[in-house]
């Protein structure tokens, strides 16, 4: 029931379609379970999550932007290895946010590297909304 409300909200306001929509709905259900006051994801919160400097790894403070840059339509770079990273924004790179297994894997890894812990369902939804709207 509760999940149903969140789902309706999301479908009404997002409609990105495809697998990512299903994953956002799953995250919304989980967020609502954790916090009954949850009303939906916010790309403004997502932007803060993506751009704010956190504890990072290897003695280096990091933000999501450290590797992906602030402009998600541009190429980034893995800061430790130098390997180039294709743009994260789906409007610049049609392959992004298509494969949910891949999305989950990288959110797990990248939250751990940047924040030193996994992201909450709300944080993941917020940040995905930010990337989708970039």
């Amino acid at each position: 029931m509760v999940g149903g409300i969140a789902t309706t909200l999301l479908v009404a306001t997002l409609s990105f379609g495809g697998a990512i929509e299903g994953y956002l709905q799953e995250l919304a259900r989980e967020a609502k379970e954790r916090d009954p006051n949850f009303t939906g994801f916010s790309k403004e919160r997502g932007e803060r999550i993506f751009t704010s400097l956190q504890r990072g790894k290897r003695g280096k403070k990091m933000a999501c932007t450290s590797c992906h840059t602030r402009d998600l339509t541009q190429w980034g770079e893995q800061i430790f290895t130098g390997k180039k990273i294709a743009p994260l924004a789906p409007r610049a790179n049609g392959e992004r946010l298509q494969d949910i297994k891949k999305v989950k894997k990288w959110l797990r890894r990248n939250f751990k590297d940047t924040y030193g812990r996994e992201g909450t369902p709300q944080e993941k939804g917020d940040v995905l909304l930010y990337i989708l709207n970039f």
Partner: protein
């Protein structure tokens, strides 16, 4: 100079397919497709943050140790599913440079004393010897960052070809 069975060149790919076909004819498709799965899994999962290093570049015990701690992989999280982790470990160990009959790149693994288990290719004695003349600043510069970035100086390294050599902001390296 250096080439190896682990090669992503078109030639390598064709040779690989031929071998697979042969093996498939002899022992049935099961074993061969396993082999192919290992290769594509390795090239997908271990080339996301750097090139997929040729398995010959380290001894089996080093791969085992690396694959046993992907949570803290040189300071970053490189975890994969447990099933994938096991497949990749087997794949790497079977092709490691310290096994008998390893090809040229096996010199890296074979230079490691038996009581050592380096986690880096760049820590093997053979690697150090080959790279001893390169000034530190050319390695530390932002276009390279570290010796782990083989492709910065060996543009064809992913295919198992370590020549030609050209260092950013320095140019071609002639002996």
């Amino acid at each position: 100079m250096f080439s190896s069975t682990f090669s992503t060149s078109e030639k390598g790919e064709t040779m690989f397919i031929k071998r697979v076909v042969l093996i498939a004819l002899i022992i049935g498709a099961g074993g061969a497709s396993q082999d192919h799965n290992g290769t594509s899994l390795y090239r997908t999962l271990c080339s996301e943050c750097h090139m997929a290093y040729q398995p010959q570049l380290l001894p089996a015990r080093s791969w085992e140790k690396i694959m046993g701690n992907l949570e803290d992989h040189f300071g970053v999280d490189a975890t994969v599913e447990e099933r994938e982790r096991r497949l990749l470990t087997e794949y790497l160990k079977e092709r490691s440079g310290d096994r008998r009959g390893a090809e040229e790149l096996g010199e890296f693994a074979q230079s490691v004393p038996p009581n050592e288990t380096p986690l880096r290719i760049s820590e093997t004695p053979y690697f150090k010897k080959e790279h001893r003349e390169i000034p530190k600043r050319l390695v530390k510069q932002r276009e390279v960052k570290s010796f782990a970035n083989c492709t910065a100086c060996h543009p064809r390294a992913q295919r198992g070809e370590y020549e030609p050599i050209s260092i950013p902001n320095y140019g071609p390296w002639e002996d």
